[in-house]
Structures are given as C-alpha cells and as structure tokens.
C-alpha cells in the first residue's frame, strides 16, 4: 500500500484586491456600492496526482512558483485542499523551513524540546533523544545560547536533527540541504540514507538535481501548479535539465 496517495489535488487561493480584512473595511464596502477590484482566483495546484510506494522516496522539482511548497504544506496538513484527495499512511515529520517554529529568544535546549513536542514527541521522548539531537547538530557548546545568536548553518543543523529524531515513517523536507556547508550536507544525506535503509519514505523538494538524484526513486515535476511529468528519477531529471537548459552531466549522455 502506498504511503502517500494524491488524487486530483487542487488548491485555490483567492487574491482579493478588496478583502474585508477588518470591520472598518467591511463598513466601507457596505457603503461603497462599486466593486473595486474583483476577487481573482489563483490555482497554486491543478489536478495533481501521484503516489509514493512504501519505502520509496519522491522528489518534487520545478521553478519558483510552481506549487512545490503548497504541495508540501498540503501534505503536512497546514493547508486544506480545494479539491482532490490526499491519503498519508504513517507518522509524518517535516522540515519545511530552516528552524521552523524556533523562537529566537530561547535557547537551543528550550527550542529542541518545544519543537520536538510540536513534531509529535512526548517530553520524555525528547529527553531520551536530546543527547543524540545535540550531538548530530554539533552544538554541545552552544545549546544553552539563544537561537538568535546561531548562524544559519547552526539553525539548519538543529532543525534537521530535531525533525529526524521523531523517527517518522515519512519525512517531508523542503530545500533544507542547500543551507549548510558541504560537510553538513553530507551528514544530512547520510542520515537520510540511513532512514531510507530503515524503510522511511522521503519527500524532498529541491533545486539541487544532485540531491534529488542521490535521494529519490521517483520525481514529480511541477510547472505552474500542474504536473508536467511523474516518473523515474533519471528520466524526469533529464527532461527537466533539457527543458531548463541545464548542462547534462557527462554520465547522462551515455
């Protein structure tokens, strides 16, 4: 049974020129008959379908504004679809943004606890995992320093360590690998590999075709909210590279 099934998924946003954001605007709207600016619809995703088989990993690629992040937010549950079906089987953990949910004024320690609990661990579980998280992030010396003094690389390490400590069945990652230095990227990749070895499915959004090729079995290519192609990583990445005018790696020419 697939861990993720997405069927005819569509998401509409209203771009309202004249949204009544407040009572005062609402009153104004009542007295001004004329309709300034019509509500415009914007379909961030249109009839997207794909599935992720158990233990397999899927990459999502596409230029900016193609709907990648909207798709991830729908998968994590922060957004509700306008149309279509989503079925996710298994425990999810996500890393949508660098240090998402971290509070700058609090120490790394406080943030790890709170983030862990938001991601679905009990306090006791975070405590068990704490040493491991800190060790992975290599922040032993700085764990009691407020997060606002962390470099972006330090935040990325801590966020990644916390999100993966949840031991999910499905890990949803948005363009995080691009942040740290190369040694951190390698470390993340090897953590992802190790999780894949345990049967965890990864959904990875990335502009780095190298990461996609290294992690994903299949790739979904989105453009303006529509699925251009869904299939095996080699084929989709190759087509995308040609489309984008990116150089093909030497081995792909064979």
């Amino acid at each position: 049974m697939p861990v993720i099934e997405v069927n005819g998924l569509s998401k509409k946003f209203m771009l309202r020129a004249d949204r009544a954001d407040s009572f005062s605007k609402m009153f104004n709207a009542l007295f001004r008959r004329a309709n300034h600016g019509e509500d415009r619809e914007f379909w961030a995703l249109k009839e997207v379908s794909f599935s992720v088989p158990e233990g397999k990993s899927v990459g999502v690629i596409g230029v900016n504004g193609s709907g990648k992040s909207t798709l991830l937010k729908l998968l994590t549950g922060t957004l509700r679809p306008t149309k279509g079906q989503i079925t996710v089987r298994g425990k999810r953990s996500s890393l949508i943004e660098l240090g998402a949910g971290f509070h700058p004024d609090f120490s790394g320690r406080d943030n790890v606890y709170l983030n862990g609990m938001i991601l679905g661990m009990s306090r006791a579980r975070v405590k068990e995992k704490f040493e491991e998280i800190v060790a992975f992030a290599e922040l032993e010396q700085f764990i009691d320093v407020p997060v606002k003094y962390y470099s972006s690389g330090m935040q990325a390490r801590l966020g990644f360590a916390a999100a993966t400590a949840v031991e999910p069945d499905i890990l949803i990652v948005d363009e995080v690998l691009a942040v740290g230095d190369s040694s951190f990227q390698l470390k993340c990749l090897s953590r992802i590999r190790e999780m894949q070895g345990r049967g965890v499915s990864i959904v990875l959004v990335s502009h780095g075709m190298g990461d996609i090729e290294a992690v994903c079995d299949e790739v979904l290519w989105l453009h303006k909210g529509e699925a251009v192609m869904f299939g095996n990583t080699g084929d989709v990445v190759r087509a995308y590279r040609i489309n984008q005018g990116l150089p093909l790696p030497a081995h792909a020419n064979n």
Partner: protein
Amino acid sequence: MSKISVSFVEEKEHMRHRLTRYCDLVTGLALRDVKMRYQLSVLGLYWAVLNPLLMTAVWSFVFSKIFRAEGIKGVPYVVFLFCGLTFWNLFSNSLMTAVNCLTGNASLLSKLYFPRVILPTSSVMARLVDFAFSLIVLAILMVIYRVTPGCKLYWLPLLIVIELVFTLGLAYIVSAVNVLYRDLGQILGVLLTLWLYISPVIYTLEQVPPGIKDYFICNPVGELIYMEVNVVLGSGVVDPAALGVTALIAAGVFLLGLLVFRRLESAFAEVM
C-alpha cells in the same frame, strides 16, 4: 469531481499516550509564554504579583476612600478587592493573551502541523502561573489583615475549574475570530473593562438594586467571582441553582468555542 478528502492514517496510538503528548505540548507552550513575558524585565516574575497589588492599591484608594464603596462586611476593602481581582484577572488576562496567540504564532502555524486548539489552550494555562502567585499574595494579605477564610473553602477548586472551562471556550472564539478580523484585538480591552464593571468585583452582589440584580445571573463570570470571593472571605453560601446554571453556561460556551474554532481553523494558514 469536487470531492475533498484528507486522511492522515497514523499507527494506532494509545489514547493515553496521545493525551500525554498534547498535555506536554500545552505545558511547554504555556511555560514559554510565561518565560517570554517576564524574562526581559528586571523584576521578572515579581510582576505577576506587583501588577495586581498596584492595581489594588490605586483602586482601593479611589473606591473605598472617595466613593466609600464597601465589600463584604467585616473584611477590609483592600482584601476584598484583591480577592475579586485575582479571580477576575485569571479570566481577563487569559483572553487578552489568547486573542493574539494565533496571530502571534503565524510562522509556527504555516509551517508545522499540530492541533491548533493547543495554542489558545496553552495561553490560558500560562495565566494559571500568575493566578497561583496572586493566590499566595491573597493568603498573605489575609494573614496580615487577620481575615479568617470561609468555612466552605472546599468549593473553590470546582469554581475555578468552571471559570477555566468558560474562559477556554471564549479564548477559542476570540483567538480564531481575531485571525480573520484583527479589530477584535483592539476592542477586546474595552469590552473587558465594561465586563469588569458589570461583575461584582469592586462591589458585592448584595449592594445591587433588586431590579437589576436579576440580570446578573446572565453573567457567568460575575456569578463565579461572587461565589469565589464569598467562599474565600465570606459566609461561603453557594447557591446550588446558580452554580448549576453557571456550570451549564460554561460548558455550553466551551463547546461553542470548540465548534467556532473548528469552523474557522481551515482558514488560518491561508490568511496568515
């Protein structure tokens, strides 16, 4: 065609385990709230005590010395007022914090998924910390002014629970509505001030003229504060009928709050 379904099938988690997780999260967020409020001020948590004390000092001067207000017979007005304000502040401060709990956590809401209702719940729970400090000060004041506590003090925990249930229900409503209409955050302070004056905090229910008094049952917070203050300082007679009605209203508001929150919840991530 236009069928929408979202299902997140997770491994069957033991109900008790899930509850522990959510309780942990509520506590964690509440403690963060408390820390955040006090960590950058020199006096820190002392403010939890100083604030109501200062307010009581000013008000008791104005009301008892100038307006000649009286509280419960045989209880110094300062103690009476501080007691009422302690219970009032639990309600009022909870709502003032809750109204911004979703809008203030926009980044959290758009990036991570967890049951949203946890946020307003935790902002109400955070106020329990201030409330506890306030109770301690109340006890100290009672010792200083030699006020003997009422003999029906055992009613107090139940009354506080009912007050919390009512407060939570309203907190769900104001937090959710404030996401869509930020005006609520502006008007809430005024509404609460008004509410304070129609509640028996600076006066007792006995001083209210009979014609108006009948309407006071419609104000569950006033009713609760009246009972709480009486249980702590006065004769401590709890009218079971009034208590029953108030408890029912509180439960109703709680359920309504959850309902409203559910309805508006799906719009949160899009608006913020």
